[in-house]
Amino acid sequence: MDLIGILSLAGNELISPMTVGYILCGIGLAVHFGYTGLLNFGQAAFAALGGYGFAIATLDFGWNIWGSILFGLLCSMGFAAILGIPTLRLRADYLAIVTIAAAQALRFYVGSSTAEPITGGSAGVSQFGEEFYGLNPLPEDFTWNLGTVAFTSDEIWMRIVAWVVVGIAVVFILALTRSPWGRVLKGIREDEDAVRALGKNVFSYKLQALVIGGSIASLGGMVFVMSSQTNQPSNWGTNFTFITWTILLLGGAATMLGPIVGGMVFFGMMTLIESVLGVLVDAGLMPFLAIEQVAQIRFLLVGLILMILVIFRPQGFFGNKKEIQFNG
């Protein structure tokens, strides 16, 4: 593979729907962790509920695209309420354990044969995007080349919509966090007791933050599954959550630019590293690494980046160190 090919692949990754899916989950997590200080380690569950809710409403209920999106959002809001009402009173590290356990339990359940009639079991659901691609106003022969990567009309439509969703989410969250409501959230992050002393209902604000961040994550889940029109339980493992955390902390937790740039840098960099390693393995320069093991390097790096960021630069690229509060 030549240099142009590698750069084109990395460039594709910067704007791909998968990257956008993670970015939206990162924006949701910025609301949870960056602004409110909630250690949510179950972001994969919110994304999964968005993807599954949309697919099931489309395929089983026969709802149109707007109804399906609404249903996906309702699923994740319901999950946020069920999870949040009992657990938001707990200490931060307990919240982390409960959210990760709830996300795993949900994933095991939707992948089981018990849930198969609804969720398709371990095979998941597919082909639920006909209406979405039917809405594509671009002419069918409209194509675009990015270096050696060629996009079809549908792929361009998918990317345009995905980034418009990111834009709307960013404007919405920026408006919210600059409102008095957002200042209360930041107050909770800094000192919960002080906010309580001011007469604010801390629990209710935390729950609202969990629901709003979760809804944005479920939009991310919908974008994530829409590009390939497949939704499987294996998409939503704990690694999904860990990558979301990594891109958020890479960019900066209490910023909106953070998850966007963090996501683009992370996936662009991973593609570059994997391509270069692939070339080296092909050339026989990495005798200890088989070609199918190259993809495993990605997760190894996720772990290392996460450790290094949290220890040495918890504010990421854009954050303000004073705004990082792990002990909410």
Binding site: D93, F108, E292, F326
Partner: protein, 423 residues
């Protein structure tokens, strides 16, 4: 993967800590490298039926075998999912007869597991034995007790570390995996004696525990990094360790069976390996209890758990206690990995799969209390196994996680915990 290839990866493990793994040069269709197993025994009225052709097929791929002189058969298949298993009725000897005409086709469910048994009923259909609920309850209780004991020794490791340092260690599961993998390396790959293999594995994990405390956790404590930040660091460390283990040992499940004798206790079929494992677990738990209550260092450990600054002011070297706790916790967790690997077979992700059950056990018992962790682990083990009587076994881990969530909601300090610990 060839023998030579495996040897390279073994050397890599021994001589370097950098990731290195053997080139997987295995041919595309070598059944001995397949990760999934379907097996069963053909018999009528306890008489084995040899020479019957059996075929497993899925999506046009099929693999076949023949039952041996004991009526036993095994088919290795390359992918998970559901496989249809069929007997070739023409090859059944004349003196044997299937219980029903359509009984020659079975299904192997490899959706959540890498091993499935398929039963074919022979002889008179009316005398087929069914297990009563009570028998199942006895069998499941035994299995749950066994699983719970193994969880308990790993859970005590988590709770000792949490008690003395406040760290919720998300990288704890990887010590279970490491124990199981070193055990496989010594016992199955190098064919060493089982006791020596176990000792080497426990020693290796203990060394790993000392290494990670010295290299990561002690410097972070010195930097006064927040506990929740340390928790996220442990998540990152766990991911890294997990994928290094994957690169070193590859993704297949390590089979360590062989040489075990089946023992029948009433309705329970178990093996000498399982019984000895349970005995070792009980001895280890008793040893930890004696250590914590009867020795000076054990008492100092409990003092540090209770109030570290106060313990330090009475002259206890807190850093030394933490170092001892890491060594002890790693040794116990490595032992859990060894026992798990011997009984249930282990793959690179087994530790992470067990981690949330361990957290469930520790939380149920009360974070930071060792006795509580052991009790919690036994309860989790029993509930997880007994739930399979009424629920599909693929959902058994969900039961454990639901218990964790419910406990945190209803009684976050756990069964034996003190309220002050939840903060």
């Amino acid at each position: 993967m060839g023998r030579f290839g495996q040897l390279i990866s073994v050397l890599a493990i021994l001589f370097s800590l950098v990731f290195a793994a053997a080139p997987s040069a295995h041919a595309a269709e070598d059944p001995s490298t397949f990760a999934y197993t379907i097996a069963g025994t053909l018999q009528q009225d306890d008489v084995p039926i040899p020479g019957v052709k059996i075929t497993a097929s899925q999506d046009g791929k099929s693999y076949g075998t023949e039952s041996d002189e004991f009526g036993e058969w095994t088919i290795m298949v390359p992918t998970d999912g559901k496989w249809s298993v069929e007997l070739d009725t023409a090859t059944i000897p004349a003196e044997f007869k299937l219980a029903s005409a359509d009984g020659a086709v079975g299904e192997a469910d490899l959706v959540q597991t890498d091993f499935a048994a398929v039963l074919f009923k022979f002889g008179n259909a009316d005398v087929v034995e069914t297990q009563s609920v009570w028998e199942q309850l006895v069998i499941r209780t035994f299995a749950g007790f066994n699983f719970g004991l193994m969880l308990a020794i790993a859970a005590i490791g988590i709770t000792l570390i949490y008690g003395t340092t406040g760290l919720n260690n998300f990288a704890h599961g990887e010590m279970v995996t490491l124990g199981a993998m070193i055990m496989w390396l010594c016992f199955s790959f190098f064919s060493m004696n089982v006791i020596i293999s176990g000792l080497i594995a426990v020693a290796a994990v203990t060394a790993f525990g000392w290494f990670q405390d010295a290299a990561i956790w002690k410097p972070l404590r010195k930097r006064r990094l927040g506990l929740n930040q340390m928790m996220i660091v442990s998540i990152g460390f766990g991911i890294t360790a997990r994928y290094v283990l994957l690169l070193l040992f590859q993704g297949d499940t390590k089979d360590m069976s062989g040489g075990q004798t089946i023992i029948q206790l009433g309705p329970i079929f178990t093996s000498d390996v399982t019984l000895i494992s349970m005995l070792i677990s009980i001895l280890a738990l008793g040893g930890v209890a004696l250590f914590l209550t009867r020795t000076r260092i054990g008492k100092a450990t409990r003092a540090v758990s209770d109030n570290a600054p106060l313990a330090a002011s009475t002259g206890i070297d807190v850093e030394k206690i933490i170092r001892i706790v890491w060594l002890l916790a790693a040794a116990l967790t490595g032992l859990a990995g060894v026992l798990y690997g011997l009984q249930f077979q282990a793959s690179w992700s087994v530790g992470f799969d067990l981690l949330l059950l361990l957290f469930a056990a520790v939380t149920l018992g009360g974070l930071g209390t060792s006795l509580g962790a052991a009790v919690g682990a036994l309860i989790i083990g029993l509930v997880v196994e007994i739930s399979t009587i009424w629920m599909p076994s693929e959902l058994k881990y969900v039961t454990g996680l639901v218990i964790l969530i419910v406990i945190l909601i209803v009684r976050p300090q756990g069964v034996l915990g003190k309220k002050q610990r939840i903060g």
